[in-house]
Subunit: 390 residues, 4 copies
């Protein structure tokens, strides 16, 4: 491996997403033969002590307290953005203009306008050999990649129904604290952008068609929540006596949709589906076959093939065969992978694209399309659920 | 049993629904101690030969070729209506005015106007001691009755989400024949009234709250189909070369909804969900517990109780315990019941209500509320999905 | 139907099994076109009042207090035996010698010796045109019939593994009362004969091969239980202070086995598997395909076909298609059947066999083979688990 | 982390198990705060080129071609043994005698005699401050750790049944090649030691009681297989025309068992259960509760609590809560872990034990007990399945 050229990475942010990305950068070259050797050059964060500790813990060679320094450094080839959405546009555009490749967490931005500027920057950078990718990591879950492959092969015939849900329950408790994820200025939206974006991207990507219009309903069940809690991660329980602040995002978003190819869709994203921990679900019904996925059983893809009738039934395919996407590089069949493998595979595909000077996917343009759906959902929900073109 | 007074029944129609109702009338007194002894006095149908054969096969003592004759007969106490929806209003109103009790299949009618007249007739008849009930038989599936009981007990806390689907696939084949169920004049609507009505009723009944408004999308995927096929039952395959006629109903209906109590809902009904055979599903998420049901595993109710946390999980309750609704009269635990038991339990509850001179449920007024939701869905779908009050 | 010749039935016993059989006799001709019309002529039981009530409740035309009277009556063609196993041999042999057809509940007898005599009587009767059948009703569960059909078609290739369990939990409570099912003199054995017999029969029937030897372990966890409880059905809770009597049968029976065709098997029957209500499970692994069944999801058959690889997975076939065994006479696809349908289908097959003068299956000889396996299991368990030929 | 003392590791072998162990050593300190900092000092293997490549790929600082060199090196504190079972005893004993800590893959040895010598060496080493652990990594799957915790808490009451299966299918194809795993001299046994050992360990560990006796049946379905195939990993397809060699191990092993505490058990291990990819299953039925696990859904533990009756049912606990074993250090709830996390957690527990100078578990003595069960199974299978004390 000594002769492989390196790809020097600088990461901004080191919380939940930063930990997942760090693991991916560390792990990808250990299981996959990469054309470039990722080097974890530097991590940036505002607090000097905490960023130093994070660098040591997560395995970064150095650290900075200003993200701009990462972009200035010549020894960095790629900027990995793991901060809340309100900073995405500024950082990504600066990095791309400085000639860096960019991996940006989803949702791409907090508004279509930002996403459009980012996409324009990505297009411009691409002409100069720098590539941008948005981190819809669920695409790299093997079972979902297999779903995409099956659709592409024509196995489903023409698609009539898309049924997508992302159900969580960590806000069910009315005293769960007010975090940045509940602050529209920071996060752009609530369930919609955080988890709804994932199922919109998955539905469009797997079906191979875009949403053309929506009719939406959004709801905030708990209007204010305790502030100042010592909150880490998702969930948790704030104090009940202290001051409260307003929740400025949606708790739940639901919408019907139409797709370019004639399919109709139903989407739902919520953090109030008690008992559903991470039920990121996608189902497609075609004229010849159907498929269904639930992240709570993430190594399985359910597949119904009408050709099997009358002895047909949804098959629980364990997407762990050597022939399945990514899994041949891991363990024997039936030895399941976990959540973080999607990030590792994302690194694999990104590094290969960069090495081959090809556009990695999802591109910023792909992510902009998701952003437009998010915006149409918000617009429709604010206008009596009226049908709204994307 | 010799001393028990009889309840003489006349049934109109003898197809799929007539067979299910006949089984229920025959079977209910064998497993339950009924306060009145149902007697299968007469069945009516237009074709003399076929109705005679049906009477013999299904166990009716006599038969008529005009439903009006049934209503005229003094030896009949209750009229059981198992014909397409376009005839419901005329028959039910005539029967109620003649002093008969009425059991009418769902959906109650093909329009709100009809349903309103039927409800008025039912109210008037009730004052004279004749009762009317609408046949939403799924209410009597033990697992769904248990769901209702759990909500009534307060186990769920305040309900935030309703998620209801009725997914079938028997129209996936573009050459499935054009039957009365695809003719708006006969059936009123397609998936919406046929199967969507079931999940609307179930959602309102179990949650104990009504839908107040909707935003809807409807679609007809296959616009015309072969006519003249020798079609019996659901599904089937028509000719591909013969003449075709227009499908005048929806193939799929989807809508978001709000409920009186503050819950939001997502509904979907379709006959194009390939691989889903009879997936009548209802899920409720409350502040304290959740429950989920799927008719494809009809003897189970899934129940998540937050009080079990951190070792909580959806419990698969086999709703076959002696303590569960209806099941104590059947088999030992774990010995599942089938589709037709809902009809048998419907007869049990109807006979008991009549004997006790109490209003059986669902009343025509309850069914009218479902009809109003159906109408609002159609109105919204025809008006750019705009929010439409029920 | 008026011209169809009748088949007059006399049933002995009217408890749990009697209720199931009565339902089957009543229902079979309503859904199937039978070549003979079953008539529920008489039921026999010792207590005059209770048997009279049972006749009225279950729909029998007359009743007797001595089972011998049923056999003497000229207006009875078939004797249906629904009493504990210690009476099977005497009744069945008398009935067959009197020229009656016989349907006898399982297990066929309480000993191999009895079963041999019964089988000899059946062979002799057959020569005179009277047929005998043993009531392993699970064979007529559509999903298990489909399993048999798949194996017969060669779909599984050569069978290597049989894995069969029958798990219940109604004796988990140490104070559940001492009933006839726990009395070896009445029942012959405990879990072994009551539920183990079902999985032995299913395994041999579906695989098409017989067990040739076993090594067994049996256990009685609770050695004595309260007597005199007012016990009805399975389960229940006796007093804790009253007198206790000895449990003389096995609570659980486990054994390994070899089959004629080279397959190996593992069997387990217990009433102490807390949470498993009626988990009658059979799995077969062949060289080309596998299948699995669990009665707790009784309308499904799981089928894995190696030909689907690498996108293979166990398919959940809903055994409710028109092409599936028995189900075309009932409801549309996905509308599940229940426990009692197995009995109804048993009546259908029995009546057809009798009308066609063909041997119905399982014959007494088939049931004798099961009895021999039961005896070998008991012998092995009593001899240090030593391998014991059947 | 700079002040943390290091723990220098030398690993022997670098195939499937070596890759899993390497990942664990790399990853554990990134997600857990360890009292010692593992350093991946050296890896050993016979082939100079391949071991050099493995060192680079897997992240080891140096490499050796003779495992004895690792033991001689002063800069190594712990020997991690990832080679076939025939080398375990020699290496482990040498390492322990040299004062190294040892982590040895399972099964501990190829015979009880070897295992006894290893255990004696471990006991002696412990007195000198060097600890030995056997790598039954499934113990560290969070859902199985949670199972252990529930039993320890008394939640199950007295345990009556243990039901354990390890079902794979990668030898179903008769032309799968003859590898070291099918050579008794290398592997000791087939399914029994390779996968049966896992369920024996899990059953004893979770139940907290040891197996006291067994009655067993073993089978080799395919007696010879192609040699010389270019085989990597499990499964694969050898040539069909080339030479064949004898399979000298069992393809399947089944046994009944008794446990110290009065429970009875049924075990089955096979590589011929077509469609079962990695179905490592354990179920325990107690007097108060039951639990069930299947590695094919590895992040779930099914738990039935009789206290929930009559609304009880097996709960699907997603073992991903912060309160669950290990999972608080990873992702939010519902974001599943994978196969390799068991190895990472094994490293965590081992490092903590070494730092605290406590015996890590499973000890060699624990693994010896498993070995004794394996030996009793083989003895019983070779003696007509006769009951054999452990």
């Amino acid at each position: 491996m000594s002769e492989t050229q390196s790809l020097n990475v600088g990461m901004i942010g080191y919380a939940f997403m930063g930990a997942a990305h760090s693991h991916a950068w560390r792990t990808a070259p250990r299981f996959f033969d990469l054309p470039l050797a990722p080097r974890m050059t530097a991590v940036a964060g505002r607090d000097p002590e905490r960023v130093a500790a994070a660098a040591a813990k997560l395995g970064w060679d150095s650290h900075e307290t200003d993200w701009r320094r990462l972009i200035e450094r010549d020894d960095i080839d790629l900027i990995d953005i793991c901060v809340p959405g309100d900073l995405h546009a500024e950082i990504a555009i600066a990095a791309l203009e400085a000639g860096k490749h960019v991996l940006c967490e989803k949702p791409l931005a907090n508004s279509v306008e930002e996403a459009e500027r980012m996409t324009a920057a990505a297009e411009a950078a691409k002409a100069r050999g720098a590539f941008a990718m948005c981190g819809f990591s669920y695409r790299r879950t093997p079972a979902l990649s297999l779903a995409k492959r099956l659709v592409e092969s024509g196995a489903l015939g023409s698609i009539r129904h898309v049924r997508a849900q992302y159900l969580q329950d960590w806000l069910t408790d009315e005293n769960a604290p007010l975090t940045w994820r509940l602050d529209k200025a920071k996060s752009g939206s609530g369930s919609l952008g955080d988890i709804g974006a994932h199922i919109i991207d998955a539905a469009q990507w797997i079906s191979g068609t875009n949403v053309t219009g929506v009719s939406a309903l959004m709801e905030t069940f708990v209007k204010e929540r305790p502030v100042g809690g010592d909150f880490v991660g998702l969930g948790g329980h704030g104090g009940t006596d202290g001051p409260k602040g307003p929740v400025t995002v949606d708790d739940a978003a639901m919408f019907t949709a139409r797709f370019e190819g004639g399919a109709v869709g139903v989407f739902e994203a919520t953090r109030f589906a008690l008992g559903r921990k991470n039920a990121m679900r996608v189902e497609l019904n075609g004229s010849k076959a159907s498929l269904a996925f639930d992240f709570e059983d993430m190594n399985s893809l359910w597949f119904y093939d009408a050709a099997d009738e009358p002895n047909a039934g949804f098959r629980r395919i364990q997407a762990t065969e050597p022939e399945h996407p990514y899994t041949g590089n891991w363990w024997p069949v039936g030895h399941g992978l976990g959540y973080e493998h999607g990030f590792t595979h994302q690194v694999v595909d990104l590094v290969e694209a960069v090495a081959n000077r090809e556009q990695p996917t999802p591109s910023f343009a792909d992510a902009l399309q998701v952003q437009r759906v998010l915006a149409a959902v918000e617009a429709s929900a604010g206008d009596d659920s009226r049908w709204t073109a994307v």
